[in-house]
């Protein structure tokens, strides 16, 4: 069952081939087995089993709610979940139990999905490695895959050389990649869903800004944040997006355009497609393997009749700088709400309000978060406001214009790498600080957030080291369905291999034949 698509499992549940409780228990046992990945901060076992029970009742009565009824999912820990601790991987919110559900969480629950737990992340979603949260770093399941391990030297079989998942939604990525759930929610502000998706061999989707509600997503950058979706195949993403997309009266940045549901991705005539390759994305730091795959992908489209043209996004080299200024500025504003009075951590220092606030924020926030707040406040000082913040907003418009010009020249979809390289070992990653890493790793992804466009990272092939590499498709605003249709076609062409997780294969949980998942034991 675990290797099937959402629709297949949903059909199996409807036909009684498997029950929601069996699925739930299986996923919970895999969560336990893969605990060393540190993908979950909170495992909501009781909640999930209760939901499974209710789902089972509905299925017995022949009244399932939809394609997600009875399906295990996971949610990143910066989405508010009623009655379940929501920490954002920070001391500031340790023990915080929200009194409400984020809209996207509510929508999943209303469709009968089973909430397995809250996944790990970089603190307050700031980072590109999922290494900077207070609950520790997340380990990439591919570090333990047969494909990776057999290409390493024997003396490196110890656990010290494990790889990062990428970030900041690394926990959600690891959760889906390790078969603990079928889909997971992440957030995407500068690439936080697409980056770990590429490193973990998953489909990582960033919807258009304004398509999916942000109500309940603890905000980082209000003008760029969106909820992101992780799944093992593009069709599953469409199922989840169909549930999540739509106007939310509680989020006035969601548009009111009607959405065609259900979101079914049809066949596509590739010969009518125009693919754009942004030349500025060919940077020297890009690994040769990814460059080669990028080129092959372009050739693939061309060989099927698509028009593949080079486009220019001239302000690309400034986009990471622009993102840095806008991000830190909005962060400085959003983090101001954490003062210890109404929720979250509160310092014992009670001498005065200011002293209490300062101490609370010192104790509650990590260096990374405090650094961004201070930088942001610097850019927002009266004397700097025009030169930095407003300047960055102007550069943002130029970047958006670049994309518009590219699309106006007839391009339907842009094709770019997602990351500079495959996942790196943790020990390697931490040699540079968070800000430097973010600036490096977000290079292909953050411009998309500034323009509010939809984008998806699709796993393409394994590197020479046996690690996943993904490529990114970027679409026009609110053309999410078309984008996913292109991605689905591409996914079918590349046939990305299944992860061969030693632990799950050893105990018979996953059975593979010729690299394909053939069956899963439910006992």
């Amino acid at each position: 069952m675990l290797g099937r698509t959402l629709r297949e499992v949903s059909a199996a549940l409807k036909q009684g081939q498997v029950t929601p409780t069996e699925l739930c228990k299986k996923c919970l046992s895999i969560i336990k087995k893969t605990k060393y990945l540190n993908a979950y901060i909170t495992v909501s076992e009781e909640v999930a089993l209760k939901q499974a029970e209710e789902s089972e009742k509905r299925h017995k009565q022949g009244q399932p709610l939809g394609d997600l009824d009875g399906i295990p999912v996971a949610v990143k820990d910066n989405f508010s979940t009623s009655g379940i601790e929501t920490t954002c991987a920070s001391n500031m919110l340790k023990g915080y139990i929200p009194p409400y559900n984020a809209t996207v969480v509510q929508k999943l629950l209303d469709q009968g999905a089973l909430l397995m737990g809250k996944t790990n992340l970089d603190e307050f979603a700031m980072g590109s490695g999922s290494t900077d949260g207070v609950f520790g770093p997340v380990k990439n399941p591919w570090s333990y895959s047969k494909q990776y391990r057999e290409r390493q030297r024997h003396d490196e079989h110890g656990d010290s050389h494990w790889l990062i998942t990428g970030g900041s939604s690394g926990g959600s990525a690891a959760a889906v990649a390790a078969y603990t759930c079928f889909a997971a929610l992440g957030s995407d502000t500068g690439g936080s869903t697409r980056n770990p998706a590429a490193h973990c061999g998953l489909v990582g989707f960033k919807p258009s800004y304004g398509l999916v509600s942000r109500h309940g997503l603890i905000p980082l950058v209000n003008s760029m944040d969106v909820p992101g979706i992780f799944t093992r195949c593009v069709d599953d993403t469409a199922v989840v997006l169909g549930v999540l997309a739509g106007h939310d009266p509680k989020d006035s940045t969601t548009v009111q355009d009607p959405i065609k549901l259900p979101m079914i991705l049809g066949e596509m005539d590739v010969s009518r497609l125009c693919i754009g390759i942004p030349k500025e994305y060919l940077v020297p730091e890009l690994s040769s393997e990814i460059r080669s795959l990028w080129s092959q992908a372009a050739d693939l489209f061309e060989s099927e009749g698509a028009k593949v043209i080079e486009v220019s996004l001239p302000h690309t080299c400034y986009s990471i700088v622009c993102y840095h200024v806008l991000c830190t500025s909005e962060v400085a504003s959003n983090m101001a709400r954490f003062d210890g009075l109404q929720y979250g951590h509160r310092s014992g220092i009670d001498v005065s309000t200011e002293a209490m606030y300062a101490a609370t924020r010192q104790e509650g926030f990590s260096d990374v978060v405090r650094g961004r707040i201070l930088s942001g406040n610097f850019f927002l000082l009266k004397e700097n406001y025009e030169n930095y913040f407003v300047k960055a907003q102007k550069v943002r418009r130029l970047i958006v214009r670049d994309f518009m010009n590219a699309f106006d020249s007839g391009v339907d979809v842009l094709l770019t790498p997602t990351t500079l390289s495959e996942a790196v070992p943790y020990l390697e990653f931490i040699k540079e600080d968070n800000r430097t890493r973010s600036a490096q790793d977000d290079i292909f992804t953050q411009a998309v957030n500034m323009a509010g466009l939809p984008a998806v990272s699709v796993p393409v092939a394994l590197s020479n080291q046996g690690l996943p590499i993904g490529l990114q498709f970027i679409g026009r605003a609110f053309c999410d369905q078309q984008l996913l249709t292109v991605a689905k076609w591409f996914e079918k062409q590349v046939q990305f291999p299944t992860i061969q997780l030693q632990d799950l294969m050893d105990d018979g949980s996953l059975v593979l034949e010729n690299g394909k998942l053939t069956s899963v034991s439910l006992t």
Binding site: Y100, Q362, G371, R435
Partner: protein, 217 residues
């Protein structure tokens, strides 16, 4: 390894690619067999040509940013021959102590160490690269939805009445109030001297009634 982009670089990369393309370990997309009409063997030459054709502009790319926004001074020195802006460590100015204090007071966050100040200085130097962009006549972009009429709901109370739940999340409450410590330099107040208001004279200072709050962070 630092790589300098140059006209010959891409050719070198392309040549390297051709040398390995025939090797069984080379990374390639495993795909379903295309229709026979499209099935063709890629010779080494075609492979190199494909890469060159795909990215021809890089052959003519000189040093520095090839961008209409003419890079000047700082930017060029920062990231020669690359597309990604580098840290202009030479240009990182020192932030004066008074400014540091001011920022700490505004942000209510301490720097805590010399390293943190250095990180801010690097962040500023990084941001300074924006000044190389010509934004004359460009309006700032606040939201990508600026061309749309976004929905504003009517100003009616639609939910709330969750005082208990809200109070539960706070560490210090008194009846239905959140409690805050006193201000730093409170003005003297004229409270009556009888015992009725002695509560107000204690350390605690009343803050926001919980019942007017809504649940969202």
């Amino acid at each position: 390894m630092s790589v300098q982009a140059s006209p010959t670089l891409f050719m070198a990369m392309a040549t390297a690619a051709t040398a390995t393309s025939a090797h069984p370990d080379v990374v390639s997309i495993a795909r379903v067999a295309p229709p026979s009409s499209l099935r063709r063997t890629r010779s080494k030459e075609m492979w190199a040509r494909a890469l060159r054709v795909r990215f021809p502009a890089t052959l003519n790319r000189g040093r520095g940013f090839a961008s209409k926004a003419g890079p000047q001074g700082k930017v060029q020195e920062a990231g020669q021959g690359t597309h990604s802006p580098r840290l202009a460590t030479q240009g990182a100015g020192r932030v004066p102590a008074a400014k540091i204090e001011h920022l700490e007071r505004l942000a209510l966050v301490n720097f805590g160490s010399r390293e943190a100040v250095a990180r801010l200085e690097k962040a500023i130097a990084f941001a300074d690269q924006l000044h190389a962009v010509d934004t004359d006549g460009v309006e700032p972009l606040e939201s990508v939805l600026e061309d749309r009429c976004v929905y504003l709901r009517s100003d009616n109370v639609a939910e709330g009445n969750c005082t208990e739940e809200l109070l539960r999340n706070s560490h210090h409450v008194v009846e239905e109030y959140f409690v805050a410590p006193p201000e730093m330099n409170p003005q003297p107040r004229n409270f009556p001297k009888n015992g009725q208001h002695s509560y107000l004279n204690k350390k605690a200072h009343l803050y926001t009634p919980a019942h007017i709050l809504t649940p969202e962070i």
